[in-house]
């Protein structure tokens, strides 16, 4: 309940933060964003960094902007600020729908999109949604910036492509304006994290599915795209029947032996929930397409 002692730094710019990362390369160093994953880990003794670099106050890392077909979310933007940004709802509807389901209001006021993505907790709500949104992670280090597609960013449980002296600066999402995005999750009754969370992005043109992107959190060691589901619906009509048939293919290509299996749910049950929640996510999206939410 009481964390071990640590040194604390509060850089004002990204460059400063990177310098600090380099400087403390030998020590166990952690970046501190919203603290809503890191601080619980420190308090329970799972993590005891010697050095904390608090990047939560770096202004250039916050904010949501839409520009030329790309939506940019600064890594230190809180979930609440994403939800308050009209542009996010318009251009990244699936990601926004997932952000809406993170924790509770207090968590959303403090936690950040970048912190979530960088933490790479497979049971968190964003991994599936960033895949569905075709997001690019922009990572910055001593040698400058590099773009990492979401597909390549997650390396496994709590593991990402961010190097030890790098930090995530922003998440870029190609505009999905016009498509409907949904996210439904089966939350663990204890932690509230996703046992299974399914994000879907859907648009229909002339009765045929145009965009179909479906992804899930909580099932594997990282977010996954549900390609079988996407293939089943692509180009065809979207209705109760096709959705049910597509959802039945949710587990396709996923190795059931590697599914998350813990106190909260077995892999077998997760596979079952994946189908149920895929169907729900798509049904909700389809309903929204038929009757766009009046906002």
């Amino acid at each position: 309940m009481i964390p071990d002692g640590f040194d604390y730094h509060e850089p004002e710019t990204t460059a400063e933060a990177i310098e600090l990362l380099e400087e403390h390369g030998d020590a166990e160093t952690e970046l501190l964003a919203g603290g809503h994953s890191l601080l619980p880990a420190m308090k329970s003794g799972l993590s005891s960094p010697d050095v904390l670099i608090d990047i939560g106050g770096i202004e250039e890392l916050t904010g949501v902007t839409a520009d030329g077909g790309t939506l940019t979310i600064g890594a230190m933007t809180s979930y609440s600020d994403v939800l308050d940004a009209e542009a996010a709802r318009e251009h990244a509807p699936a990601l926004t729908a997932a952000v809406e389901q993170v924790g509770d209001r207090q968590v959303r006021n403090r936690g950040t999109v970048g912190g979530n993505v960088a933490h790479a907790d497979p049971a968190s709500d964003l991994p599936g949604a960033v895949l569905v949104s075709d997001a690019t992670m922009v990572v910055q280090g001593p040698d400058g910036e590099r773009d990492v597609p979401a597909e390549e960013f997650y390396l496994g449980m709590y593991a990402t492509d961010i190097g030890p002296d790098e930090l995530l600066t922003r998440v870029e999402v190609p505009s999905a304006a016009g498509a409907v995005g949904t996210y439904v999750k089966r939350a663990s009754p204890s932690s509230g994290y996703a046992m299974v969370g399914v994000a879907a992005l859907l648009s229909v043109e002339d009765g045929a599915a145009e965009t179909v992107r479906v992804g899930a959190s909580g099932v594997m060691d990282r977010g996954v795209r549900l390609e079988g589901v996407e293939d089943a619906l692509a180009g065809g009509s979207v209705d109760e029947e096709t959705i049910e048939a597509a959802a039945a293919r949710a587990g396709e290509g996923l190795d059931t032996a590697l599914m998350m299996d813990d106190l909260r749910a077995s892999g077998e049950f997760r596979a079952q929930l994946l189908e149920v929640y895929t169907e729900r996510a798509l049904a909700e999206a389809n309903a929204d397409l038929a009757a766009p939410a009046a906002d």
Binding site: I2, S44, S188, S190, S191, E244, A271, Q272
Partner: protein, 814 residues
């Protein structure tokens, strides 16, 4: 029906008892003005932390505190040897006693610091004291322990198996206990037309009081007084027990319970930590504070339930219950906690008749030592386990004899004209009228139309279910003589003192010790009513052994029935004395004086009267008192009830179950409770709500899970699902009122009713919903996965295949 709170100002004095006035304690609790143990600061206070066993079962091959001692800011460290050294002051046992004995009880030593062996993860090994709490924690971690690991066991059935790792002696049997008539029961089963049986677990639960346990101890070397603030549900009992444990005389030990943030039973018992803080404060002659972390509460607070039970019900052709047989293996944990032996025996077996007239009952219970924290009373304590068994069997019994579950229960109810009713399990129900709550509840859920809706829904592939729980509860265990016969090492009376001040206000001291129940409000209502004075003029004091004459504390839903009645008795004595003073001053015979609404009046001469406040003033002036009467106006009573009180009611859950996801949605939850007269209906409603939430927690979410090494897997709120508001359905509550005939208030008890009633209502509802799948029941907690497993592979709507079939089929079933 939701009850609106009232402003006490707007309630007529004559109506104060029974009015739903606002809880006067709430503003301080809500704004943070209330003072809890951890808020208490003392100059020069040191902080204590405990080094605990990491393992469920191990020998201590070495305990080295030297690294901790060397840390800057560490004041002292203690191990078992330090408590038993040559220069340790004599008198303390440094072992925790058991407050309830059974004939066959295997008493085991329960040292406050482990003596060469640890028996559960969390067992205390060493203590460090430091200048601040951070250093204390770090130092506790620096205590180095060499463990010799032993095999562990956490399940009571497995613990009793031959060859199971034994915790204390040769085997893990703590006691064998039985109740009822085994021959008559055997006969009932032999001649039964129908029988049903269950094999169920009533899982271990972690209490999770909002405030962790804590203690602040302060010793005054000059006076020899040791003052201990602690999270207590029963300060006087803690004083008695602690006095023996640490060897400090009872009359120089003062226990105070400041605001206490919930207990659910977990703060009844005497634990090592509080005793250590007290003894060390004396040893160091420095104030010492200890506050448990949440992690510590998970591994040290006495857990609840933990039964494995096989039970059978016998019925005749008409569906009348003719016999009940119950065999339970009860988990007692690693040592015997304070009242542990009573909970799965006298508080359990005696309730097995439920609301039913059952001619033959037999119950046997074996208590088992296991490598989990000591198990003891937890909200309901034995009664939820009993009611669960009875009501699950009632559900299956109705099905077996092909009767409607509500009518099956009605047929078997103890009829309203049979009270007082003596059961076959050693208790006499004081009063009851069981059909009333059942009828009301059936109306609330519109039962007539439910079965039709259920039928229709099934045709659409939707699964609705209804579950009944006609529960019985026993509160205020009494009289003390009986408690003694059953093995209690304490009386179960209650004491109070009602004192008028010269200015006319009143302080009411009571030996119960509320920790969220609203006693400051309800007790003031009782006393204001008795004395005929304004509610605002009554202050209630609980939780201090120096201020309150004596007391047994708050648990077992006893406070209103026993503590409240004691306040009535004290008030009556006080009025008796005041009447004599009034008569004297009115120059009349006391027999001619009537007392009403705070006025003493001479019968037939209404203008000759004296208010009780004036009498109070006169009693302290003492200028004109009756001959030989002492000045002052106060009275103390020790009230020992004639019997328990037996609240009852019917709870009904209506759920929809999604067999694909295993999800359970509440359509309705209706509760009709009869808790006797209600002192404050809003507080009654609140207790019912909270109780139901906790009961639903057990039914659907909670459960302490251990691995094979007895490590707690659900050791935090991240992993142990304490239900959140959105997990709990809207509840519709109503009540009937059947007075208890044997206490002056006619009250029963309400603190545990909801917790006792709810689990089986929910489980029965889910079982009813899934009847087409052949599901008879599902083990608690009914997680989505368990529900899905129960239906998995049996997705038929034609009455289902028998349970057991299709278990091995995969998840694919679309």
């Amino acid at each position: 029906m939701t009850i609106d709170s009232m402003d006490p100002e707007e309630v007529d004095a004559a109506d104060i008892l029974g009015s739903a006035i606002e809880r006067r304690e709430d503003p301080a609790l809500i704004t943070g003005d209330a003072e809890y143990t951890d808020d208490i600061q003392r100059p020069g206070m040191a902080h204590m932390a405990v080094a605990r066993s990491q393992y469920g079962h191990a020998d201590l091959e070495g305990v080295d505190t030297s690294a901790a001692e060397e840390m800057e800011g560490v004041v002292a460290t203690y191990t078992h040897e330090d408590l038993h050294g040559e220069d340790t002051p004599e008198g303390g046992s440094f072992s925790l006693p058991t407050g309830w004995l059974l004939d066959s009880l295997e008493q085991v030593d329960h040292p406050i610091l482990a003596d060469g062996r640890v028996r559960y993860q969390g067992d205390a090994i060493a203590v460090v004291v430091a200048e601040d709490r951070y250093t204390a924690r770090d130092a506790a971690e620096a205590v180095s322990v060499d463990y010799g690991r032993r095999d562990a066991v956490t399940d009571p059935r497995e613990a009793l198996d031959e060859g199971a790792p034994a915790l204390h002696g040769e085997d893990n049997v703590a006691f064998d206990w039985e109740l009822g008539d085994s021959d008559a029961t055997d006969e009932a089963f032999e001649s039964a037309s129908h029988t049903v049986s269950i094999d169920v677990e009533n899982q271990l639960l972690v209490p999770n009081a909002m405030e962790p346990r804590a203690a602040v101890a302060d010793y005054s070397p000059g006076s020899g007084e040791l003052e201990v603030f602690m999270t207590s549900q029963n300060p006087h009992l803690h004083r008695l027990l602690m006095s023996g444990v640490i060897g400090h005389p009872e009359h120089k030990l003062r226990i105070k319970a400041p605001e206490v943030g919930g207990g659910f039973g977990s703060k009844i018992h005497h634990y090592a930590d509080e005793a250590l803080a007290a003894w060390i404060a004396k040893d160091l002659e420095r104030p010492v504070k200890w506050t448990a972390t949440r992690t510590e509460t998970y591994v040290t607070d006495a857990q609840g339930r933990g039964h494995r039970t096989e039970a059978e019900l016998a019925m005749d052709d008409d569906g009348r219950i003719t016999g009940l047989r119950v065999d339970t293996k009860a988990n007692l944990g690693a040592y015997l906690s304070t009242f542990a032996p009573a909970v799965p025996t006298w508080l359990y077996g005696t309730l097995l008749s439920g609301q039913y007239d059952i001619p033959a009952i037999h119950c046997s219970v074996t208590g088992a030592f296991t490598n989990v924290p000591p198990v003891d009373a937890y909200r309901g304590a034995g009664r939820p386990e009993a009611s669960f068994v009875v009501e699950r069997l009632a559900h299956l019994g109705a099905r077996e004899v092909d009767m409607d579950p509500a009518e099956f229960r009605r047929l078997n109810f103890v009829p309203a004209d049979e009270f007082p009713y003596e059961t076959q399990v050693a208790v006499v129900y004081d009063s009851g009228d069981y059909e009333k709550p059942l009828d009301k509840a059936l109306e609330m859920v519109d039962y007539d139309s439910f079965r039709e809706r259920q039928e229709q829904a099934r045709e659409e592939g939707r699964y609705l279910g209804i579950g009944f729980s006609c529960y019985i509860e026993a509160c205020g265990l009494a009289p003390s003589e009986l408690a003694g016969q059953l093995g209690a090492q304490a009386g179960l009376w209650e004491s109070s003192l009602v004192r008028f001040h010269p200015s006319g206000t009143v302080t009411a001291f009571c030996g119960t010790s509320g920790h969220g129940q609203g006693h400051a409000t309800t007790y003031a209502q009782i006393v204001a009513n008795e004395l005929g004075i304004p509610y605002d003029d009554v202050e209630v004091v609980e939780g201090d052994t120096d201020e309150i004459p004596h007391g047994m504390g708050t648990y077992g839903s006893r406070s209103a029935a026993v503590g409240g009645s004691s306040l009535v008795k004290s008030s009556e004595k006080l009025v008796e004395k005041a009447k004599e003073i009034a008569a004297h001053q009115l120059e009349a015979d006391p027999d001619d004086i009537e007392f009403e609404a705070g006025e003493f009046r001479l019968a037939g001469a209404p203008d000759r009267s004296l208010g009780i406040k004036e009498v109070a003033e006169q009693s302290y002036l003492a200028h004109d008192m009756p001959e030989e009467m002492e000045p002052g106006l106060e009275a103390t009573s020790f009230y020992d009830p004639d019997n328990f009180v037996f609240p009852f009611g019917t709870h009904v859950a209506v759920v929809e179950v999604d067999p694909d996801s295993g999800e359970i949605e509440f359509e309705q939850y209706a509760a009709v409770d009869d808790v006797g007269n209600q002192i404050n209906p809003k507080i009654v409603e609140g207790q019912i709500h909270g109780g139901i939430a906790q009961g639903i927690g057990q039914a659907l979410y909670e459960g302490a899970e251990y691995d094979e090494n007895a490590q707690l897997l659900t050791g935090s709120m991240q992993d142990y699902a304490v239900p959140k508001t959105y997990h709990i359905p809207e509840m519709e509550t109503d009540s009937t009122v059947t007075e208890s005939p044997h206490n002056p208030l006619g009250v029963k008890g309400v603190g545990e009713a909801g917790t006792i009633a709810a689990p089986q209502a929910v489980v029965n509802a889910v079982a009813d919903a899934l009847e087409p799948f052949g599901v008879e029941g599902i083990e608690m907690p009914l997680t989505a996965e368990r529900v899905w497993e129960a239906t998995n592979g049996r997705a038929t709507t034609d009455g289902g295949s028998p349970p057991g079939e299709g278990d091995d089929e995969g998840g694919e079933k679309r």
